[in-house]
Symmetry: C2
Subunit: 200 residues, 2 copies
């Protein structure tokens, strides 16, 4: 059964449309918890929604620290600030990695496997080449020449992974206006959303 | 004894200077851990460094969820993306709240007390008025008129607090260039910084 679109989705679609002139409108910050319980946050590029769902797709190097964090603690909060319309979405929810180890023969996995391949194809040559580089965050060898030849556009490298995020709570703050406006949305255990206006 | 300026500080000062035409260059994302261990992140405005240190000052409503998080788990990561120069700083470190309960007669507290008062003075009337509003995040009463008369500019309301953050680890990523450049800096237990270039 297909769930209805979440009640916050039209607001996010409007923000994406209203800020589309800025290339930054697809930059979000993903917060996770490290294996030792400490907070972590970094900027990622939103790559689109998964099919006709509201699940969000990001890319990552499978060797990065955030992948270890997500494997151990598959929950995250996304902060998405739109400068043009002065509004912020905070989205809390579940997160999973889609990497080369995914068994594509499982029914649910087929969509994810195809999303990984399609997202790889859509990357620039320059970005694809970066997945053949040495492990991110390790000391850089000044004598090493980083490969710049792009890998095959049809076959994702093993270091290429998707991060798929699905929201369970959304906090939407609109800064224009005095007072400002803020809404909270929560999904119940069956995935139905309810929302209300709260104090900014 | 005054510590020397951290080795990453000149890079951050250059980024602040190089992006100063955009009013967004002072927006950062602060990630914390909620009392139940889940990640949280939101956008804050950088209000400046504390005195001649590299401690960073932000403002908050003392009734907001992030204050409860900081009181329980006084560690945070800041993500600071500069769009104009395409670079990101991730700063990990300690964080404390400076609110009305601070005993200003303690020597260390005097600087913080003055910073709270000076930061309050520097806010706009509109922002000062927002600290007299009902508790952030609670359901909004549609019949309630939010006060717009600004409170006294000399006396911070009890709901006004500073967040003071001091870094212990810094990760600086510069996206221009192929390959990009990335550096990591770490402070030892005596506060001395060391840095090295790492793989992007």
């Amino acid at each position: 059964m297909r769930m209805p679109s979440p009640t916050w989705r039209p607001s996010l679609d409007r923000a994406l449309e209203g800020n589309s002139r800025s290339h930054q409108h697809r930059f979000v910050q993903l917060a996770t918890v490290r294996p030792d319980g400490r907070p972590a946050v970094r900027t990622l590029v939103f790559r689109g929604f998964l099919g006709d769902s509201s699940d969000m797709v990001f890319t990552t190097d499978a060797r990065s620290a955030k992948c270890a964090e997500i494997r151990r603690s598959p929950e995250a909060e996304i902060c998405w600030y739109f400068a043009g319309t002065r509004e912020q979405f905070r989205l809390y929810g579940g997160v999973r990695l889609v990497d080369a180890s995914l068994d594509e023969h499982l029914h649910e996995a087929r969509v994810l496997h195809e999303a990984r391949r399609d997202t790889w194809r859509a990357l620039s040559d320059e970005t694809r080449a970066s997945f053949a580089w040495p492990t991110p965050g390790e000391p850089r060898d000044p004598g090493f020449a980083f490969p710049t030849t792009p890998p095959d556009a049809e076959t994702p490298l093993d270091s290429f992974a998707l991060i798929v995020f699905w929201a369970r709570e959304v906090d939407h703050l609109v800064l224009d206006g005095n007072p400002q406006h803020r809404w909270k949305y929560v999904a119940d255990s069956s995935g139905r959303w309810s929302g209300q206006e709260v104090n900014p």
